[in-house]
């Protein structure tokens, strides 16, 4: 048994033993669980992929004369102004003003909220256009200016849902192509898409949320951030394997961090033809090895994690709940997988290569004594299901 305090003391003295969630598999196999649990202090997990429920709060400071923004656009992408005078929230999936969307199907969606966030983190210059109705103390009614992230008082990323514990594998059983948030699905089950870092993914290495909770320190695109709440749609009550690993979506995390500390490589605007825009983010989460049980969970392998294959032509849009089959991430990573007796080509929207890079970056930061772990101030809910939206009359 190790405590957070003991692990942090070792990190501060640069003596912590840290391995990635990939390296720990072979390490435990070689050393045995008991010995490895005594030696290893931290296992680093990571993921990189589109996370639509992301965005940021920006504070512009006050112009002279003052304006109370009621509508604002950054590089023609609208930011929400229904908060204080010069605070806005910019969402990742917001389209550019006058984007034809899917009027000419499939739409291209070349630029949107996610791309604005990428440009901000890169330090590029952006255009702000704001309007107002004017008040006695905020008389200015329109403003255009250019700014970069250094001009802002605050740029804080606040993401209501990141790091889905597990995710659907999308396939198309119909006879027409589908343009989805999991990419182009060719007709008649010609290809499928998955989106998870599998054995590297944070919540798959702590399936029952023993160490990851509200207040946990995370690496969000290179910045020191933390889990500020359960993620939206957090639904831990679900089908799980004998290893406690969910075989469907399950848990999620709400994350926040300072965008001024982020690295542009891990904050990338996403364009999905026929679907829309989004933001891909890199997240790393350290798992303290408190005991043998926490260590055992981090040794999960791709072959032990199953994802549900769902038909996005009918079962997903109509929410039938039907699962065609389940595939392990080991099977998915072979490039071809078998679904209903057919061989199907596999694509991914989650980058294992980038996740691996993040797991190593976080490992190095912890080894250098630069990243301390934090004990959650509150656990994530462990019993909770996702409610559906009822469309009903008032009475």
């Amino acid at each position: 048994m190790k405590s957070y305090e003991e692990i942090n003391a070792k990190i501060e003295s640069k003596k912590a033993v840290v391995l990635t969630a990939e390296e720990i598999i072979g390490y435990v196999e070689k050393k045995g669980l008991e010995a490895a649990a005594k030696e290893v202090d931290v296992v680093t997990t990571a993921t990189f992929g589109p996370m639509c429920s992301s965005g940021c709060f920006l504070n512009f400071g006050h112009s002279k004369p003052r304006i109370r923004m009621t509508q604002a656009w950054i590089d023609e992408v609208e930011a929400y102004c229904g908060i204080a005078a010069v605070d806005v929230y910019l969402g990742a999936t917001q389209l550019r003003r006058n984007d034809p969307a899917n009027l000419s199907y499939p739409g291209e969606f070349r630029f949107g909220g996610g791309h604005v966030i990428e440009k901000l983190v890169k330090g590029e210059r952006l255009e702000l256009h704001a309007q107002s109705y004017g008040t006695d103390e905020y008389p200015l009614r329109e403003l255009r200016t250019w700014f970069d992230i250094g001009d802002l008082n605050q740029a804080i990323m606040v993401n209501p849902r990141n790091c889905y514990q597990n995710y659907n594998v999308a396939i198309n059983c119909s006879e027409r192509p589908l343009h989805t948030y999991l990419g182009l699905l060719k007709p008649n089950m010609q290809n499928l898409t998955y989106c998870s870092a599998g054995q590297l993914s944070p919540l798959l290495n702590d399936p029952l949320y023993r160490t990851i909770g509200i207040g946990t320190s995370v690496w969000l695109a290179g910045a020191r951030g933390h889990v500020y709440a359960e993620g939206t749609q957090h639904a831990p009550t679900c089908a799980r394997g004998a290893n406690d690993v969910p075989t469907e979506g399950a848990g999620t995390l709400a994350l926040t961090a300072n965008m001024k500390e982020m690295k542009a490589k891990f904050v990338r605007g996403v364009s999905l033809v026929g679907y829309g825009v989004s933001l891909a983010l890199g997240v790393g989460v350290p798992i303290p090895i408190l005991d043998e049980e926490t260590l055992l969970y981090t040794t999960v392998r791709d072959r032990d994690i199953l994802a549900p294959v769902i038909d996005y032509s009918s079962d997903y849009p109509n929410r039938t709940g039907k699962v065609l089959c389940r595939l392990s991430y080991e099977e998915l990573k072979r490039g071809e997988a078998s679904v209903l007796g057919r061989t199907v080509e596999v694509g991914s929207l989650s980058s294992y290569a980038t996740a691996l890079e993040i797991a190593h970056l976080l490992k190095d930061e912890i080894r250098r004594g630069e990243f301390l772990l934090s004990r959650p101030s509150q656990p994530l809910p462990r019993v909770q299901s996702m409610k559906a939206l009822a469309v009903r009359k008032k009475k």
Partner: protein, 137 residues
């Protein structure tokens, strides 16, 4: 010895009505596989193709085309992959028909691009969420 070469032909406005491919096949005995072409009267055009034949016949065909003031490029690549913009997600893999985009090393799962295998179908341009692939034309 029979070899296959990828050629990129750029037409001046005035030569777009000449049946160049016909002559390559008929006069020089080349097997032609066209990847993509845009040949519109009154505009500059291009033709990207594989030609298969003896080295000698290919060179004679190239000389013939150059004689018509057609620019023949034997090294240019019509589709480019930007390694910096690529996040190595792998969304392109099932859309690339010739595995020009592929995972070179299963351990790191990084994507690599082999321009020699590319047939310029442009599926990667539409399917890359990060705009990592682009076309010369």
């Amino acid at each position: 010895m029979i070899v296959t070469k990828k050629l990129m032909l750029s037409f001046p406005k005035s030569e777009t009505e000449k049946p160049i491919v016909y002559h390559l096949v008929k006069d020089y005995g080349l097997v032609v596989n066209i990847f993509r072409a845009r040949v519109t009267p009154e505009e500059r055009g291009y033709l990207v193709l594989d030609v298969t034949g003896t080295e000698e016949d290919i060179q004679r065909g190239v000389q013939f085309a150059r004689g018509l003031k057609v620019d023949v490029n034997e090294t240019s690549v019509g589709v480019a992959w930007n390694a910096e913009a690529c996040t190595h997600c792998g969304n392109c893999l099932p859309h690339c028909p010739t595995d020009a985009l592929r995972i070179a090393d299963g351990a790191t799962r990084e994507i690599s691009f082999d321009p020699r295998a590319c047939v310029e179908c442009l599926a990667c341009l539409e399917n890359c969420p990060y705009g990592a692939c682009s076309s010369l034309f």
